[in-house]
């Protein structure tokens, strides 16, 4: 016997099974210990038409509670930030490739620590070599058929591939960039975030190149070229800030704009993404 009773509305919702899962569970717990309410349930059930009690709906709700996966923390955060549930779900699936970006972020952090240890100039070169290429590698990994084994059935759905690729790009960048930005603070330099524009430029180049080649192959090619350039510059001048001058930064911005334009123009070619084999 308890000190309270189900009100009429709650009782009706319970009998008709139109209550929420939490409300229904609470009512059920109460009914186990309350004889008068159990009697009211019997009375109420006897006057309700059977058709009102949709057994199939009740069964579906029960199965939902068991089968539908609980949204991840990341997905709930995205929903909380205002992203529609459907988009949040699609972005969250990309976070299934977290192993890839975690590796990338760990690599940057390791290089940042190493760069901080070896001193100003050499440390800056090291960090500058690695930080801009990590975003383009993790972005490519998020939609490369070799990394995403479910890509083929994804490709032949009506969902726009362009939208899926961009959602994943934004998702992995949102996950990877904060860590890389923080690691930049470890480097003894006055311009810890100057690698951002090269990174944006390289991501755009990879997106554009993905309309011709596999994303991962494109990202590896871009990274290799960048490492070569850095190596040559390091041999010629000891001052890494030369790369970060306003003119160089403007060039990276132009590269990003041009590449992204090419990507948009050739976006229909994305459906021909081929695995790297």
């Amino acid at each position: 016997m308890t000190g309270w009773h189900l009100d009429d509305d709650a009782l009706r919702r319970y009998v008709e099974r139109t209550d929420s899962l939490a409300e229904g569970t609470s009512a059920e717990q109460h009914l186990l210990s309350c004889e008068p309410c159990r009697a009211r349930v019997n009375t109420a059930a006897s006057v309700i038409e059977l058709s009102v009690i949709d057994i199939a709906t009740v069964w579906d709700r029960t199965r939902d509670a068991i089968e539908v996966p609980r949204p991840s923390v990341f997905e709930r955060l995205l929903r909380g930030a205002g992203l529609p549930a459907q988009e949040a779900r699609l972005v969250a699936v990309a976070s299934a490739f977290r192993g890839v970006w975690l590796t990338g972020v760990a690599a940057v952090l390791a290089f940042a620590a190493l760069a901080a240890a070896v001193g100003h100039a050499r440390g800056m070169w090291l960090f500058l070599a690695v930080a801009p290429v990590v975003p383009c590698l993790v972005v490519a990994s998020s939609y490369d058929p070799w990394m995403d084994p479910a890509l083929e059935p994804e490709l032949v759905t009506p969902y726009p591939m362009l939208r899926l690729v961009l959602l994943r790009t934004v998702a992995v960048l949102a996950l990877a960039l904060p860590a890389v930005l923080l690691s930049g603070l470890l480097i003894p330099t006055e311009v810890p975030f100057a690698w951002l524009l090269p990174a944006v430029g390289f991501v755009a180049v990879v997106l554009a190149a993905s309309t011709w080649f596999s994303p991962l192959r494109s990202a590896i090619a871009v990274s290799s070229v960048w490492l070569g350039v850095i190596w040559l510059l390091a041999l010629r001048s000891g001052a890494p800030e030369a790369v970060l001058q306003a003119r160089a930064q403007a060039a990276f911005l132009a590269l990003a704009a041009a590449s992204f334009s090419i990507f948009l123009v050739r976006r229909r070619r994305l459906h021909q993404l081929r695995p790297w084999r």
Binding site: P69, A150, P158
Partner: protein, 293 residues
């Protein structure tokens, strides 16, 4: 409702210097069509073309009267298409329900209650309703194939393209899948590739045999089997002139092709016999340098 159809005219596909398909002309209507051929014959390439996953390098493809080369029309096709690729991977940590639900989301099932009901329906069709909450990584190969098939069945598509759907699936489940596909094929074009000739014999009205990227046979299964009538027999010795010959469980040799000898016992040919005869007796020769996929 318009009748679902697919047509291919002089379709070819190359990968660099390698020719995977050449001069393929086909008209497909509702029903189950089986695709047979040795490894590297071009079966997967043909299925990927039909599934709009790959464009042809030559010729014209029309699916449901639409041109997959045109973006808007390709999207229309994909709204009515189910595709099970030969190799499919699954995101780490996903359950069967979560994966099929994810593909349903991409297939524009945006209303959660309807989507979940549809996911349950297709998982039930492939006999996985009891395993819907099980992680795919913990499933057997046959169960994974059924998860892959379930996502292709979403929305009862007008065109269903299946690349080796029964590989690794146990005999009981294969019978169940045959029943499901036969029901779908009443209204839909179903094309499946397989190495299991018994699946084709049991399920398909029509069979297409591909060899080195070209159609070697296209017609009713019974007609292909009929071509082997009188050319399959049992004898105490293997016949060197036979296309193929093997020792059966009774100790006698089943000879396909060649010259019928005295004392030979004629037997009813199977589709496999007819297929082997058509292929000239070579069971599965590789076709290196000619065909990639």
């Amino acid at each position: 409702m318009a009748t679902a159809s697919i047509s291919l005219r002089d379709v070819g596909r190359t990968f660099g210097a390698t020719r995977a398909l050449a001069g393929v002309d086909l008209d497909l209507k509702p029903g189950v069509t089986g695709l047979l051929g040795p490894n590297g014959a071009g079966k997967t390439t043909l299925l990927r073309l039909l599934a709009t996953a790959l464009p042809p390098t030559q010729g014209q493809v029309r699916v449901l009267g639409r041109d997959p080369q045109v973006s808007a029309q390709r999207t229309d096709i994909r709204r009515q298409l189910g595709y099970q690729p030969q190799e499919i991977g699954f995101p780490r940590g996903f359950t069967a329900f979560a994966f099929v639900d994810y593909i349903a989301l991409l297939k524009e099932w945006t209303e959660p209650a309807a989507r979940h009901a549809e996911v349950r329906r297709v998982l039930d069709l492939v006999g996985l309703s009891d395993l819907s909450s099980k992680r795919i990584r913990a499933m057997s190969g046959g169960q994974r194939r059924r998860v892959a098939l379930a996502q292709a069945l979403l929305g009862s598509p007008a065109v269903l393209i299946l690349d080796e759907p029964t590989t690794g699936v146990d005999p009981e489940q294969r019978v169940v899948l045959r029943t499901v596909l036969a029901e779908i094929a009443r209204m839909s074009v179903v094309v499946l590739s397989t190495h299991q000739t018994e699946d084709v014999a049991a399920l398909c009205e029509r069979v297409i045999v591909l060899d080195r990227g070209r159609v070697r046979y296209d017609g009713p299964v019974t007609e292909l089997t009929g071509q082997a009538a009188g050319r399959v027999w049992l004898a105490d010795e293997p016949d060197p002139a036979a296309s193929v010959s093997w020792r059966t469980g009774t100790g006698r040799y089943r000879n396909v092709g060649g010259r019928v000898r005295d004392g030979a016992e004629h037997v009813e040919p199977s589709l496999e016999d007819a297929y082997l005869l058509l292929r000239g007796g070579s069971p599965e020769p590789e076709t290196a340098g000619e065909v990639a996929s």
